[in-house]
Symmetry: C2
Subunit: 114 residues, 2 copies
């Protein structure tokens, strides 16, 4: 598992990107998918996930549909139009972030300002 400090700020972007790729998803499904995609390196706790989803819904980024499955409630989330543009921004920002981190952990050996 990667330290939670490192992962912290990226959870919202991860959730939004998964919803973009997979259409609608419910909370539990999202945590499973994150584990799968990251080979268990990133785990989304429920205490983090559900407040994020509720907040994004409140902000108009997501909408919900509640359905009954095996006598259990499932709350499906999907992106609004606003959500689509929020994801685009967030993913762009994350790509820049990754690039910046790579410049630090894999520095160009010859690159040196006098």
């Amino acid at each position: 598992m990667i330290s939670t400090d490192l992962i912290k700020g990226s959870l919202k972007t991860i959730v939004l990107k998964l919803l973009k790729e997979n259409g609608r998803m419910y909370g539990y499904e999202i945590t499973r998918k994150v584990e799968e995609l990251t080979a268990g390196q990133i785990k989304l706790t429920y205490g983090a996930l559900y407040p994020i989803l509720h907040k994004l819904e409140y902000e108009g980024v997501l909408v919900t549909e509640s359905e009954n499955y095996n006598n259990r409630i499932r709350v499906y989330y999907s992106l609004t139009d606003k959500g689509e543009s929020v994801v685009a921004e967030k993913v762009k920002e994350m790509r820049q972030f990754i690039e910046s981190l790579q410049n630090i952990v894999n520095p160009q050996p010859g690159f040196n300002h006098a």
Copy 2:
């Protein structure tokens, strides 16, 4: 500028990796180097940097040498032996983190579990 939420947890690793690459550095120099390497995308504030350096010194990860330059004090930091192994772990963890993020922002199109 990348949002501070995204950057937060990675500052310590960034500082340590820069010290590994550049030998000894002083605080102000570190903030400049981070800006340079990330094309201004990541800025280390002094309120973040100095407490990180002090804590790492206290933990025996870094040692200091204070020197006088132009009547200004410069506090140079460098890695201890312990620091060298801490950096190795932290950088390894960050590479895994980057890989996990890439699996999310650049998913394999054909990859789908039934």
